[in-house]
Point group: C2
Chain length 234, copies 2
DNA sequence: TGTATTCTATTTGTCGACAAAAATTCAAGA
DNA sequence: TCTTGAATTTTTGTCGACAAATAGAATACA
């Protein structure tokens, strides 16, 4: 039961190793448990998960493919830094995906979709009530991803998923100093979005997506400006 | 020099193995040298490239991350089939990316960009003159990717790259039976796009992107209808 | 003849080991 | 003390081997 050199090692089905490590590392990166820019030690991970380096490396290759880590050839691999220089490009892409997925969801959603989306929205509302920042971030991303999936365009869904992932790291900074009125506003906006999608109002769904995105962008922008000022005064 | 069991094996720098295999397989998949849906044999590839299965597997993991192959756990890995059921989603995404990258290129391009884009357009024009279908496809994709890069949004560029890649396989079918007037029309449209981008006319650039996309979508759609009819008459 | 079951063969996922490359330490000389 | 260069340690990329999982062949049974 107690193995000092393999804390998370358990009996697993063959073939599940890489996925296990991938999921664990992904969450730790997105929740900022692993600091952006910090080094990743393959051997350490192998010991921690109680497996050889082979499945660890497979997980790292997959993470690198999604831009969550960076591998320097023959040298260390790092947790991808948050690129504040390209933050404008990020906001552009995020806003467009909010609009597009909103519109497509209104166009292509099927009966079960609204049920799923509503359930995830309830999860988000609960997290807001409980003031659980990590849960807010995760449930918010799940909610918007469900809308994207209702739009039934895997290309947009994949990009949006990547953007929401990257956003989890930024929001993790944001929610550390959040104004607690804002999440409540998001709850209301989410409900408007669901109604517009259910009513198959393409234009309104897209517009609400844009408004919602602008809301978030504006808040993060304020946060960044404040951070910059803090940097300057140090 | 002659090694019967490792045709492509040569002295390489350490660390280049996976990339070599990745590039080679990627080209063979996109040029339809490897048939969509066909199985991939790791051992065979290892022998062909004269290396062990480890770097081969790394290349396969990366290709799977980009959706170019599909891995069935504990079973074979196959070249990703062309998904004609989702072709509508593909066209939607492609059209939007043509528009967005056109607009952003007009907004953010820097001096060197126009030079690069013009050079790639010249390559495309040459391929059209030479009636070299494979070259047309490759240079066309490179041209549009250069426009995307001038737009300086890595998220859009990455999605567009993936779409253009996937498109290479579809166009490979298309150009087997192409009407030779069409590529010439594309040459003219490309030149209009360059002019609009250089003039920093955001609206026109976006509109030309849309027109260009519609052009391609319409042609591929016609092709698909024809193929369907052929299927029915068999 | 058709179906179920055991056996065999192929293929995949994982492992431990080794060598190349880089990072680090240490020593020598200015 | 600082720089240069050699020696050592650490870390990565690759390899060959083995075992689990599956597919296919062979056999038994109805």
């Amino acid at each position: 039961m107690t193995e000092k050199d393999a804390p998370e090692a358990v009996e697993r089905r063959r073939g599940s190793g890489a996925k296990l490590v991938y999921d664990a590392l992904r969450d730790e990166i997105l929740d900022l448990v692993l600091a952006p820019g910090s080094a990743i030690d393959e051997v350490e991970l192998a010991e921690r998960f109680g497996m050889s380096r082979t499945p660890i490396r497979e997980a790292l290759v997959r993470l690198a493919g999604e831009g969550l880590i960076e591998t320097l050839p023959n040298r260390s691999t790092l947790v991808a830094p948050i690129d504040f220089l390209n933050i404008h490009a990020y906001f552009d892409a995020l806003t467009l995906m909010y609009r597009v997925t909103g519109r497509l969801a209104a166009e292509h959603h099927k009966p079960g979709d609204i049920v799923r989306i509503t359930a995830l929205q309830a999860d988000f509302a609960r997290a807001v009530e409980a003031q659980d920042a990590l849960a807010m971030i995760a449930t918010n991303a799940a909610f918007h991803l469900a809308i994207a999936e209702a739009g039934r365009n895997p290309y947009f869904t994949a990009l949006f998923k990547r953007l929401l992932d990257e956003g989890r790291r930024i929001l993790r900074l944001y929610y550390q100093s959040y104004d607690d009125r804002l999440p409540h506003r998001f709850v209301g906006e989410h409900e408007e979005m669901i109604a517009a999608i259910a009513a198959r109002d393409l234009g309104l769904s897209e517009q609400l997506g844009r408004v919602h995105a602008d809301q978030i962008v504006e808040q993060v922008r304020k946060l960044l400006v404040r951070e910059e000022r803090l940097d300057l005064t140090l």
